[in-house]
């Protein structure tokens, strides 16, 4: 792995950029049907949930279920705080503080 790394990085950049660019470039230039707008409106909730939940309850490679991780138990008060206050900054600070407390004194 010496002179080969630069072309690999450029190749990685190209294949990463294309899926980011294609929909922005083409979908913004069209009038979208209403069902597609509705569908796209569900995407953020779907993606966020798909990102969060497996990260909280699974670990390892290959992945397996784990219920006893601080990530999951800290998520519950963090979620309640977010629901009550709807404050992004507050939620991030509370989540970090709780996680720090749990991982340090557990």
């Amino acid at each position: 792995m010496t002179g080969e790394i630069i072309p690999i990085i450029i190749g990685m950049g190209v294949v990463t950029y294309i899926p980011r660019w294609l929909p922005l470039f083409f979908l913004t230039r069209r009038r979208l049907p209403s069902w597609l707008i509705d569908w796209l409106d569900f995407i953020p909730a779907a993606i966020l949930s798909a990102l969060i939940l497996p990260a909280l309850v699974t670990t390892g490679e290959p992945r397996h279920l784990v219920w006893a991780r601080p990530d999951l138990w800290v998520a519950i008060p963090t979620l309640i705080f977010a629901l009550r206050t709807r404050s992004l900054a507050g939620t991030v600070v509370i989540g970090m503080a709780l996680y720090w407390l749990v991982t340090h004194f557990h």
Binding site: I8, M12, P44, T91, V92
Partner: protein, 244 residues
């Protein structure tokens, strides 16, 4: 070209202030993950300059971790690039969703915006766009402030990351907490709640069955489609008798 791009400077001043005050949770998280990536990539044999180049050219955290591990194991061009492609394909859905709020933007601006679409910037910008009073300039500032943080943190990690204590101040949890709150913002009614619930459960099941992270793309696709079906049938049920 430059003057065409950076129009009315007072708009940009406001955008920089708004963007930076929104982006800090992402930046905190990127500092933690970026330092960790730098340390690992260095261990896998990447030079800090190569680490910096990768963070600038690719700018996608999880794929960079995987690529560093593969490169460390001696993998070549095609395996690394194809893996990167499959790991980052999920951005297709995010850019599609963002396109609803970026109409009437010139091609060069869209192309610059596309570069900064990540899980984190997407989630944050999307919630701001939906709330209204969020311009593409502010969103672009979020994208690039976080990108700069990622670049600096990964290079710093590559140079001297092993001296930084891991897990300081719960910083490892910044992005998780942010995602939790942004998900709360997305639950704007019963259909969104059902989509999120469905998506979470399916994602856990699929993540246990399929290696890699393709489960995110598959799950989000399925969950949004399921939401569309539920909303359609729900609306028909609620339609008044005999109404057309």
């Amino acid at each position: 070209m430059v003057s065409d791009f950076f129009d009315a400077s007072e708009d940009w001043g406001k955008a920089v202030r708004e963007g930076l005050s929104a982006a800090w949770p992402i930046c905190l998280g990127y500092i933690a993950i970026g330092l960790a990536f730098g340390v690992i990539a260095r261990k896998m044999g990447l030079h800090p300059l190569e680490i910096g180049l990768m963070s600038l050219v690719v700018y996608a955290g999880s794929s960079q971790f995987i690529a560093a591990a593969m490169l460390g194991a001696g993998a070549g061009f095609l395996p690394v690039v194809l893996t990167t492609f499959s790991v980052n394909l999920r951005h297709l859905l995010m850019s599609s969703s963002l396109s609803l709020y970026l109409k009437n933007l010139s091609g060069s601006r869209l192309s610059l915006f596309a570069y900064g679409v990540t899980d984190e910037s997407f989630a944050l910008n999307m919630s701001r766009f939906q709330a209204g009073n969020w311009g593409w300039r502010s969103a672009l500032v979020v994208n690039h402030a976080t990108n700069l943080t990622w670049f600096i943190s990964t290079v710093a990690g590559g140079i001297g990351g092993q001296f930084i204590p891991a897990g300081a101040f719960g910083i490892d949890y910044a992005l998780t907490a942010m995602f939790i709150c942004l998900l709360v913002f997305q639950i704007r009614g019963i259909y969104h709640a059902l989509v999120a619930l469905f998506s979470g459960v399916v994602a856990v099941i699929l993540s246990l069955m399929i290696p890699g992270n393709s489960y995110i793309l598959i799950t989000a696709f399925l969950a949004a489609s399921a939401g569309l079906c539920i909303r359609k049938t729900g609306l028909q049920k609620n339609r008044p008798e005999g109404g057309r």
